[in-house]
Amino acid sequence: MKKSAISCPFEKSRLEKGYGEMNDQDDPVVMVLRHKDVRKCAHNWKTFQSGAKPGRIVIPSEVNIRDVRQIPFEVDPPMHGEYRIILEKWFKRPLEESYENELRKQIEALVEVSMVKDSVEVINEFALVLQSRALTLLFNVPFSESETWISWGTHVFRSEETALDSYKANVLYDYIDRQIEKSIAQPGEDFYSKLLAAEVNGKKLTKKEIKGVVILTFAGGRDTVINAITNSIAYFAEHPESIERLRREPELIKFAIEELIRYFSPLTHMGRVVTEDTQICGRAIKADTRISLNWASANRDASVFENADEVVIDRKINPHVAFGFGTHNCLGATHARQIMKVLVQTLIDKVGAIDIFDYEENIENLGEFKRKVGYKNINVKFHKK
């Protein structure tokens, strides 16, 4: 098996039962595993709710470390749509030419520096740096802010010592409070100022609501983007033929990006709280318990994807759910896709071979299932083209 391969631990259960089970801090989760069922449950936000107690739809649950509601993530319709309207335009800015140009400058500079080094630890020296710098564009704040964000390490909520580190969460929350106060004192063109000026149903957002939006923006795109970047580097290291092909046929890049995102599925699953007694694949589900929509499993469903466990770099029809599905689909997807596009283009332009030295895999424990989501660390050498 290749070092960059990511296997699917859910296959057997997906085929045999359609669901899996895991415990999480005494609040068990029934994981929905098939593509169609995942879409069906994601669509049914009334029965499978996001607007539950803050932190409960996240797995592992954050109810013990967070009472701020993430917005619009933990709000269901109709309010979800009201929040979403004021955010959509801002989160489409990555499509603007000036944004893409800045992103390209950032990524090219990072790749240039990395190629000079004998060895690069991709998670901390490359992906975290790239993600943090790119986030300054999404927030429209000075580049230098990325230094603070890089210093927080790879997880905003989680650290190496414990799965849920409330100390780290507080570092983030205090930081956000300070930034909001700063933008109140001196409004500008940054994300906080935009949120402070925004109105929902004729009312200004409260500081708590703004904080909820900002926490989501930090947390949702942190380890997901870092894993997507790192897994891409590992993939291209072992598949120089794919780099060659994209170099010859750059029109395939858009397909390659979606395929890599499907294959990696950087977010394994997301929870929902069940509002009424129901059943999934014949398994009874009680009200006020949790299910999860397992995007990673759905994305390997062989009834939808031919050669589901392989990266088919030019896969043309690719109805993956790596960015979720339906009402709550990922707000940061445009930013993430632009990062992937510019990264792939930069690798094609500048990088020749990539050698993998040593690595440690990052394995998620999900009850009986163990899933590789990426790496804890991976050392590589980037060679110039």
Partner: protein, 102 residues
């Protein structure tokens, strides 16, 4: 050359021309409001959903099984829903009118 008319959610009617690629790409190129094509046309994001005006349904044709599956749980599906990234721009669809889904 195929002429394609889009009716946006604010009832504006815009006619554009094309001879290659898919309808989503044509719409994005012409900045048709409400067609985003986030996934680049791989049938994943459903942000290029259109309702074909019934009189043109035969010209456009029904969706494939996979496309139909993706539409199945869309909020605003109709009997004439299509994902425009899965419709090729050819002379065969000249003159069709598509209503951009909300």
């Amino acid at each position: 050359m195929a002429k394609i008319t889009f009716i946006t959610s604010d009832e504006q009617s815009i006619t554009v021309e094309g001879n290659s690629g898919n309808v989503m790409e044509l719409a994005v190129k012409n900045k048709i409001k409400g067609i985003d094509g986030n996934c680049g046309g791989v049938c994943s994001c459903a942000t290029c959903h259109v309702h074909v005006l019934p009189e043109y349904w035969d010209k456009i044709g029904a969706p494939s099984e996979l496309e139909n599956d993706m539409l199945e749980f869309d909020e605003n599906i109709s009997d004439h829903s299509r994902l425009s990234c899965q419709i090729q721009v050819t002379d065969a669809i000249d003159g069709v009118v598509l209503k951009v889904a909300k």
